[in-house]
Amino acid sequence: MTAKRFGPVSLIKHAILWAAVAMIVFPPYVLVLNAFKSKEEFSQTSVFKLPDSFLNFDNFVSVMTRAHLDRAYRNTVIIIAVAVIGNVALGTMVAYILGRFDFKLKKAVMGAYIAVSFVPTITTQVATFTVVHNLHLYNTLWASIVLHLGTNVLQIFIYLQFLSNIPKELDEAAMMEGASLFRIYRTIIFPLLAPATATIVIIKTIDIYNDMFIPYLYMPAQKLTVVSTSLMNFSSERSTEWELMSAAILMIMVPIVALYLFFQKYVFAGIVNGAVK
């Protein structure tokens, strides 16, 4: 079954996909145009007009210095590295327990994860803040790490879905050879969950990367600024310096897109099929 290159069906498919891509690309296109405009140029010309020069990197330079992007990236990377690694470890552990064993409180644990996903976090911030403050995590990178560390319904479901496709016989065969349960988790389950993990790493990384709320509320100190909150340097409650904001948004989008391109190979490589068979 090889794809017919120019068959009518595949033409239609490509047409649909191109339409979707066009709709997706258009808004960021506006961003690119305006990132290269000077303040006055931006103020006096239409947003859809091409910039005088695509070589005007002034905005990018002032973003770099004013937002301390180097520091912001460092903080962001630390938070993401610790939180994502911890999150994947905890997530796979919870999934392994819930997916492979029966015990009394299993339903309660599952239920708790589902229940808290109903709660809109913005309305519980007063209580959460007090907790973070009392644990002396306020105004440290740990505030963001700890709040992103816990696993959630989405991850548990994705892992459980994958886990159900990993045959129990693999566990049993290992047990016959005398492997401990922890060993089974570490050498069989965890590696076989890799494609799911790749998906989760991507989603989690993006979530942390773009999250403004937690760093903003829990770590306002300037030296703890992360990439998303550095955008706030370009707008106040009343107005926004859009030409700088455009440049800043582009600059913070590039690394995350690159990361996604790198990881998506692993998500879509279809490792799971090969491994399980």
């Binding site: 794809a3 808004p27 015990f103 809109p120 309305t123 319904v153 349960l181 991507i202 904001m245 099929n273």
Partner: protein, 295 residues
């Protein structure tokens, strides 16, 4: 040493060890604040002063008597409609891109791109797309001679929620797609191929063989969509601030305004609890429907 333990004992130890940290995190940062929310919903509190007084059910009474709150909740269902469409599209694109198609990796990347973008960026960009005078969408409509359709998108009480619903779809469709794709990857391709060999069309094979294998993931996506749309906050908050004249207020923008603008934390907490209850009701309906469908 571990090897000497019986599997029964190992199992018990492992359950405790593996769940200890996750449950501690859950209890501290999610369950406790949620419980506190319920507690506050029975109190009168302005949100900052040290004194809280018992209010009984007065806050709930106020929530249920407020016409504006429920009108705002009505707007959430517009988002829900767009959210369902978003799921359908996400699934359709996932199926399309799970087949062998030239350049599918590039398409996958592109369709997921909006989800990567910062929410502020998205709001900002769409401000320019839907601006009534110089926005690109109206420019396009006028160019096609459809001047009468070139309305004030953020200014029309009828259109505004649909515009916001569309933007939500634009941003989150890729996430649904990726989750569906991940699930489709875990469905061995032999199943579908076997069905095809038995004479089923591609469409039939998908409907009767592939989809039943991923019902759990469909439910997961619906679950996320329902919570996401009924609890939508950021987008209307940033883009319209609830305007024009409250036409794009949602349940949660109302809640946050009640708490922080009108200093009524008791009522805001009661609103949150009410919202949670409403979400549970809608989710139950969804489960009922999907269960019936999958049988």
């Amino acid at each position: 040493m571990v090897g000497n333990m019986s599997y029964g004992l190992q199992k018990r130890i492992l359950i405790i060890l593996f769940l200890l940290v996750p449950i501690a995190l859950l209890a501290t940062f999610a369950l406790y604040p949620a419980a506190y929310l319920v507690y506050l919903s029975f109190m009168t509190w302005d949100g900052f002063s040290p004194e809280k007084t018992w209010a009984g059910l007065a806050n709930y009474k106020e929530v249920f008597e407020s016409k504006e709150v429920w009108a705002a909740f009505g707007h959430n269902f517009v988002y829900l409609g767009w959210g369902l469409l978003q799921n359908a599209l996400g699934l359709a694109f996932a199926l399309l891109l799970n087949s062998r198609l030239k350049g599918r990796n590039a398409y996958r990347v592109m369709l997921f791109m909006p989800y990567i973008m910062n929410g502020v960026a998205v709001a900002y960009m769409f401000n320019y797309v839907f601006n009534s005078e110089y926005g690109s969408f109206n420019t396009l409509l006028r160019g096609m001679g459809l001047d009468s359709l070139a309305i004030s998108w953020f200014g029309s009480p009828k259109a505004v929620n649909h515009v916001l619903g569309f933007i939500t779809l634009w941003k989150f469709m890729g996430l649904n797609m990726v989750i569906y794709l991940a699930a489709l990857q875990s469905v061995p391709s032999e199943i579908e191929e076997a069905a095809r060999i038995d004479g089923a069309s591609r469409f039939q094979a998908i409907l009767h063989v592939v989809l039943p294998n991923i019902t759990k993931v469909i439910e997961l996506n619906l679950f996320l969509t329902i919570i996401g749309t009924l609890e939508i906050f950021d987008l209307p908050f940033i883009l319209t601030g609830g305007g024009p004249l409250g036409a794009s207020d949602t349940f949660l923008t109302k809640t946050v305004a009640t708490a922080f603008k009108f200093n009524n934390f008791g009522m805001a907490s009661a609103m949150s609890v009410t919202l949670i209850a409403a979400v549970v009701v809608v989710l139950s309906v969804q489960r009922l429907v999907t269960r019936r469908w999958s049988n």
